[in-house]
């Protein structure tokens, strides 16, 4: 298995797609910069902060391929999937800040959020648990005769968990319409790939489940987009699940409190040169898809949008403690 090159299709469409990708990747980057480097340090976010800096291409490229009826299961490093589905940036920041207008109204933290109206399902902290759940959603989509699929992200660390294997196996046995997307960012907290698995690639696990597996350059948003298109075509044809392993790198610690001293500095340097946003910008100007001033305008618009989102979140009240016991059950 080798990294697949992005193949250019219609030029105008590609330019439009590139603009869209740049916008969502930049919005995610700006949101997470504010979260990790401002709001958290200012003490306005009191809980855990987990960002996907350097990994923005994966949630962006994949989620932009999905239909609104496809059900997304993003991880905490896939914020772009939420933004693409229309979860407002202000509500995501309010969520981080534990405010009443957060997506979970202060019930859960950071990226632990979902909205079934938008077909986005919330993770739990033990991320691999999502894999069987996504298989179940796919089973239901098939059961109900819908043409939609489930799209489930996880890190390479999740592939060491039993639930991951149970879900992969069950989905394949039942030929369920689900696209598995691995953000292989090479570290699960402090644990490197070499201590996580004895195989070289997560994609190597695919054949054990008779699930086709592709290795993608996870820092090339257009490559991710195209590969997801291939996966969706296969899955929508009823052939069963498809696995995309997106090679990337976690350009931060596990969370905001983790300085990641265990990561050799040269890795950050090496992967920094492969930054997905800078790469896309360079490609856009080189291909003539955008002038530099258009790119600057996108970045300025993103900053303004996040300014407004921060203002919204800061103005949001804290949840009322009187609501503490509400909503444990439906018939309360």
């Amino acid at each position: 298995m080798s990294a697949t090159q992005a193949v250019p299709t219609g030029r105008r469409e590609e330019a439009a797609l590139a603009h869209k990708c740049l916008y969502y990747m930049s919005l995610m980057r700006e949101m997470e910069d504010r979260i990790e480097r401002k709001l958290y340090r200012q003490g306005k976010i009191v809980g855990g902060v987990y960002v996907g800096r350097g990994q923005e291409a994966i949630s962006t490229g994949a989620a932009l391929q999905a239909d609104p009826g496809d059900v997304l299961f993003p991880t905490h490093r896939d914020m772009a999937a939420y933004l693409i589905r229309g979860v407002p940036a202000g509500r995501i920041l309010a969520q981080y800040m534990g405010r009443a207008d957060g997506v979970t109204h202060g019930r859960d933290a950071n990226m632990h959020m979902g909205d079934l109206q938008l077909n986005v399902v919330a993770i739990i902290s033990a991320l691999a648990a999502t894999v069987p759940v996504a298989a179940g959603a796919a089973l239901a989509l098939k059961y109900l005769g819908r043409k939609n699929v489930a799209m489930c992200w996880f890190g390479e660390g999740s592939t060491s968990v039993g639930h991951w294997h149970e879900g992969m196996n069950f989905a394949s046995v039942q030929k369920l319409p689900v696209v598995w997307i691995c953000n292989n960012n090479q570290y699960a907290y402090s644990t490197p790939m070499s201590l996580q698995m004895a195989c070289a690639n997560v994609a190597d696990r695919g054949p054990a489940y008779n699930t086709p597996a592709e290795i993608i350059d996870g820092n090339d948003v257009l490559a991710v987009h195209q590969a997801t298109g291939r996966a969706l075509e296969y899955v929508r044809a009823g052939k069963g699940p498809y696995l995309l392993e997106c090679k990337t790198f976690r350009m931060t610690g596990h969370s905001a409190h983790d300085a990641a001293h265990y990561v050799p500095p040269e890795l950050f340097e090496e992967w920094g040169k492969l930054d997905p946003i800078a790469r896309l910008e360079a490609r856009m100007t080189a291909e003539g898809w955008a002038e530099r001033n258009e790119i600057d305008a996108i970045q300025a618009a993103v900053r303004k949008e996040v300014d407004e989102a921060v203002a919204f979140a800061e103005a949001s009240p804290y949840p009322d403690p009187a609501t503490l016991t509400d909503g444990v059950y439906g018939d309360q």
Binding site: R107, A122, A129, P132, V133, L139, H163, E166, Y329
Partner: protein
Amino acid sequence: MSTTYLEAIRQGLWEEMERDPNVFLIGEDIGVYGGAFKVTDGFYEHFGEKRVVDTPISEAAIVGAAIGASYMGLRPVAEMQFADFITCAFDQIVNFAAKSRYRWGAAVPIVVRAPSGGGIHGGPFHSQNPEMWFVRTPGLKVVAPATAYDAKGLIKSAIRDNDPVLFFEHKGLYRRIKEDLPAGEYTVPIGKAKVVRKGGHLSIVTYGAMVWTALEAADQLAGEGISAEVVDLRTLLPLDRETVCASVKKTSKVLILHEDTRTGGMAGELAASISESVFEYLDAPIVRVTAPDTPVPYSPPLEDAFLPNTAKVVEKARWLYRY
């Protein structure tokens, strides 16, 4: 025609599947084979493989898939082949399903059926009563019927409920209990205990197979002039403390009985609730009759010593009566 406890569950499942095309079954060996206890025998032939899903040996995938399917509007009924294996799906149940509605408003209308309980010489891994692992998990509902009538009515309510319901069916009752069930449609509400025998001297509060032990004990005690009231909890979460406390207010003495082990068992929770609510009505210490804090042993003399039985209940009830 008399109906067994097993047949009652089967009827409830069958009727709900006929009523609602979104109800489906998922589990190990439930389809072609009809289930380890034959609860779903004939379902595969009638409803087809789409609605009776045979799975790999993957309890976490069974419950996880049920959760995911429920998000999409289906009403899955998952079977754990034995309640003992529910531990393999623990994270899915207590972290995914139980917290979903509270965290992000996503209902998880699933049922997890779990054949539990001892007395069949099943040994440590085919005899357990794991209900209390779940009773202390907010967001779940936990049901444990004792009668065929309740088993049918509660499985139907569980399927219609909008929250995750764990349905502990006592495998020792499957073919032991027979009742005449109503011909027509009925359900039994979740969250309501029932006084199954009225009495004045003391209350025996219990659930599951031990309801029958309590009733046998009450018969014997009646012969000695001791009038025991028997309360069947039927649902363990949410717990109907009102019915229990009303009985204690009436009799002023209470014996709490369960097949589950002692420490952290339902009796402890009920004793605390009774003390909080109706302490001034008590004329005697609260008495517990439970299994001891050991795994469930296999060999018949050991298992007989482990399980609460009529003689143990009668002995403690006499002591309580005389107190």
